[in-house]
Structures are given as structure tokens and as C-alpha cells.
Symmetry: C2
Subunit: 318 residues, 2 copies
């Protein structure tokens, strides 16, 4: 047993199997879950005989900070970042696995709240945790894999010259919130909250797939950086119209306070989990999707016809 | 760019996207992989409309050491531990995702060799990496999720009084190898190699499922600890016959050198990835399976009718 100075039991106090029991207590299931946590593997059904799958690895201090976010928020964001990848394929997640590494002195309550936040976010699309692994590690690590159904997976490679570029969701808010917290401020609340808990437009991905979107991705590195992946994979050029964006008030407030361009947050801000897609110009855009640009022959992404040289998208290790 | 004193490029030198390009270069695919790495999610087909899935989180210093194992061996073992979980359901893995966290000063060559070892182990069952994530972290973290087909998933909960307990694979060798390395020795080679690269009996899981195994699991915490999961889940008692085990010569050698009982390594040694299962007494055991005990009414696991009190199985955080 770990010596525990405070009243709060730590995960070292209850051990690996105690922690697993407590964590799996709160986990629900759905009609896709034929066998949930507790065996060597889970068993999950699919709608059409195939599934889409995506994985993310979140590390404390790099993807989240315990002094900025509650455990519940960290869990919601960990789930959201992966659910967003399934959304970006036009799919709906059904089952997720979670690997959780943490130091032995972590309060049990933190782990439970994180998993409750995770399940709360999953509930927005009807998905559940079906398996996991817990282990000791020096800092908190959360490894998430999401699996789901996508009747017509929308890749990054299908954009065609003449297509319309459109987005759904929030752009710039999360990045403005990150900039706010980095300077030691706690408001505007709309921006700070968007950084703590993103709100991916979960209905918009399947809608775009049904409407015939030719390509789609989610905005995780920044709109221009992520559209560059579509332009590369599709072999096309993309031009954005800077006047087409609705800039959230909180983004303008943060930009003014920090002496930055509001458009920078919108075009280069990461972690928003908005969706961006291309559609044939003859397609009526689904509700919630707004046009922001066009696809042409060529390469690369431009804004108003020119290379946009704001701060670049985020890369790890650099 | 990270300053790089040696000739070896580090992952900090080539950055996140450079690393992803290098890592995904080596990845193959199979008929199940409808869409592999490089998009928001992969797309994988199933044989029967459902899939089994399991996840593991491996942390440097706890699950592997760079001074004990090559990068290739670490990759093989990371894959093996998850492929073994699918094997333990009677399934065959088809697709895996890998989350990789590492410090920026890690040589690119280490990451490439790890992934090559990972794919080499996956090739033993015909599976491939379909997606991943890389991020910076203080120590190396490898998060693996394996998905596959299991026509008749064998759970831990189906053992019945009167059933025969049997195992397939190696018991005790990996634990003897770990004990050897912990004392600073490098031989006997058979034990040390079994710790570095386990050899799960990949044919034995599907064979047992086809033969009608009533319950099955793999030996990761230790034979007694893992059989206790079967006894608990099935609501039965299990008694092992200590004279039934073929004790590998290298295990006897290590036990003698360290003044321990060879049977301890066999009954309590972890990470062997052998399989243990129960079969009706009327079932002819498949090739490679050896009887080691019986199932009865009651609870718990005994050896020769008595509680076995060797060193206990491994738990994290304790």
C-alpha cells in the first residue's frame, strides 16, 4: 500500500484491479456491444460488415493540464478528439477503448471523473467504452481508439476542381481560449470553455456523407494545415475567401487584447474539431454547413488568392 | 530543429509529419484493409459483421527497457501482447492501431525498427497497422489496439464442473528470463529470449474455439492469477496437477541458480502469452494442448488440492 497523507484515496491505494473495478462500474453499453469490458477482448457488431477506426494518444502537459481543466473536461476532450475523427469520415462511433497510464499518487476520484467525462461525451453519439488497460506511468497518458460505422466513408482524396469548400462547427474559439489561458487569463469564457471542452458538430459528418461530400477532414492542426492535407491527397488547389468566415465575438475580443489578427485564430487555430469538406457546386449544402472557398486545378492552399503567412499549424517534436 | 550532437537523426530533427511518413512507408495491408493509414480513420472489413477488439498501453521502464531489448524486440512484444488477447478469444487479428509517444531526442532509427518489429510480429497472423498517432512525451509510450475476427468468441465465463483444464505455449520461460536479466545475467538464452520476444501459440486459440473450448484466456499476469479470472467469471473451482507440467530446462536452470522453485515460474510467471482453456472431458484436446487440471464446484484455484502460496502475480501501482 502506498502511504497516503491526505484523506483522498489514490490509485496506488486501491491497486490495478481495484481501479479497473471502479472505472468499469460506470460504463454503459449499446446494441453494438455484444461483449463489453472484462474479458480478453470486447466483441462489437457492425451495421454493414465493416468499421472505421482511429486512435489518439494524449499526454499530460502537452494535450491537457490539470490546473487548466477538470478531470471531467479532460475525459470529454479525450473522447471528442477521437469521435471527431470518426465524424470526419462521415461515420458514427459505436465503441471505444481507453488505455490509461498514471502515477500511483493520482487520486482515484480524478480517474473516475475523467472516465465519467469520457462516457458523457461518448453518449452524445451513442458510443461506449468496450475495453481498456491501466498501468503505472510517470505522467498521465490517455490512449483512445474509436471504432464506428460509416456507410460511405469520406476520404481526403476526393476533392475535384470546381467543388465548393464548406465548414461546420466552431473555428478559432479553442485556439483563442488556449492563447487566453497561456497568458494567465480566464476569460472570455466562450473561448476558454471551447479549449477545455470542444463541441464537434457530430451531426454534420454523416449529413455531409449523405449529401455526397467529395472529401472531408476535421480541423485539428488548423484550417489551412488540414485543408493542405485535402489539397495534397486530392491533387488540387484550394482558395479560401477571408470575408466568408463568421468570426465569433470571443475570438475578436482575444485577438484585440493580445494584439493579434482574429483571422489568424480562425485560419491557423488547432483543436477546434470543426469539419471542413468539399461538395460539388451542384450540391445543396446541408444545414449547418457554410461555404468558405473553392477548389481549382493546381496545388496548395491560398486565402483571397495569396499565400497566407500567419503563424503555422502545430507540429509535435518541434 | 533540435540540435543533434551525433550523426543519428532524431525524431526532433524530422518532426511529426516526417516521422509519420517514415513509419508508414513500411506498413503493408491485407484484404481486410479497405483504407489504411493517412486519413482521419482507417476502414476495415470483417468476416461475419462483428469484430473483437483489445487494447494495451506499454510504458518504457515498466514494460520494456531499451538496455535489455532492441527496438525490433520491443515492437514485436508490443504487438504480441495484443495479438495474444485476440488469440485468447479464439480470434485472428486483422488490423491494429499504434499510438507512439517519445522524447524528441529519440533516434529515428529506433522508431523505425520498433515499427518493423511490430509489423513482423503482425505478419505471423496476417494483420497490419491501419492507423496511428505520434506525439512528444517524456518517456516512450506505445499504445496498441488490435481488432480481428472471431467466429465463436470464447469468454472467460463458460467453464463447467467436470471440464478439463489445458494449456498451449510456453509457461515460465519469460518470467525466468526476466529474473535472469534483473540479476544482471544474460543467459540461459532460451529464457532471456522468451522475455524479450514472447512466442504466443497463435494457431492454438482458433483451434481451441473450433474444438469447443468452454472458456479461455492468455497468461499475462501468471497462470494461477489468470485462471482465477476464469474461476471467478465462471463461478467454479479449478485444481491444477503439479506433476502435469513439462518444465522447460532453462526454467530449471534459472530456478537452481537463483535458489527458487522452478514450479513458481510456471505457476506465477507473467508475460508468457501461453493460452489456458477449459474443455468438456469428452472433447479430444487439439494438437499442442496439454491437460493440467480439472474444474469442480466451488471457488478459487488450488494446486494438488491446496492453496499455492508462491510469490503472487504482478499488479501495477503496487
Amino acid at each position: 500500500m502506498t502511504v497516503n497523507a491526505s484523506d483522498q484515496p489514490t490509485i496506488g491505494d486501491i491497486g490495478e484491479f481495484g481501479l479497473i473495478d471502479r472505472l468499469t462500474d460506470h460504463i454503459g453499453d449499446n446494441r453494438h456491444v455484444l461483449l463489453g469490458p472484462g474479458d480478453d477482448a470486447a466483441h462489437v457488431s457492425t451495421n454493414d460488415g465493416s468499421f472505421v477506426v482511429s486512435t489518439d494518444l494524449l499526454v499530460e502537459g502537452r494535450h491537457f493540464r490539470r490546473d487548466w481543466s477538470t478531470a471531467h473536461d479532460v475525459g470529454r476532450k479525450a473522447a471528442a478528439s477521437n469521435l471527431s475523427d470518426i465524424n470526419a469520415m462521415g461515420g458514427v462511433a459505436t465503441a471505444l477503448t481507453v488505455g490509461f497510464g498514471a502515477p500511483a499518487d493520482l487520486p482515484v476520484a480524478w480517474a473516475l471523473e475523467m472516465v465519467q467525462g469520457f462516457e458523457a461525451e461518448c453518449a452524445l453519439v451513442g458510443a461506449h467504452i468496450v475495453g481498456g488497460d491501466v498501468t503505472a506511468s510517470d505522467s498521465i497518458v490517455i490512449a483512445v481508439t474509436a471504432m464506428g460505422d460509416a456507410p460511405r466513408p469520406v476520404r481526403r482524396s476526393g476533392a475535384l476542381p470546381g467543388d465548393v469548400v464548406a465548414y461546420a462547427g466552431d473555428l478559432g474559439l479553442a485556439a483563442a481560449g488556449f492563447a487566453t489561458l497561456s497568458r494567465g487569463f480566464r476569460s472570455p469564457k466562450a473561448a476558454v470553455e471551447a479549449h477545455r471542452v470542444p463541441h464537434p458538430p457530430y451531426a454534420a459528418g454523416p449529413q455531409a456523407a449523405r449529401a455526397g461530400a467529395t472529401s472531408m477532414t476535421d480541423v485539428s492542426d488548423g484550417l489551412i494545415a488540414d485543408l493542405a492535407h485535402i489539397a495534397d491527397a486530392s491533387g488540387v488547389a484550394i482558395d479560401l475567401d477571408s470575408s466568408a468566415f463568421a468570426i465569433p465575438e470571443a475570438v475578436s475580443t482575444v485577438a484585440e487584447a493580445l494584439g493579434r489578427q482574429a483571422l489568424d485564430f480562425v485560419l491557423n487555430g488547432g483543436d477546434s474539431y470543426a469539419l471542413v469538406a468539399t461538395f460539388s457546386s451542384e450540391t445543396a449544402l446541408p444545414d449547418g454547413w457554410s461555404p468558405i472557398g473553392t477548389v481549382a486545378d493546381g496545388t496548395g492552399v491560398t486565402v483571397d488568392g495569396e499565400t497566407y503567412d500567419g503563424p503555422a499549424g502545430h507540429q509535435h517534436f518541434r
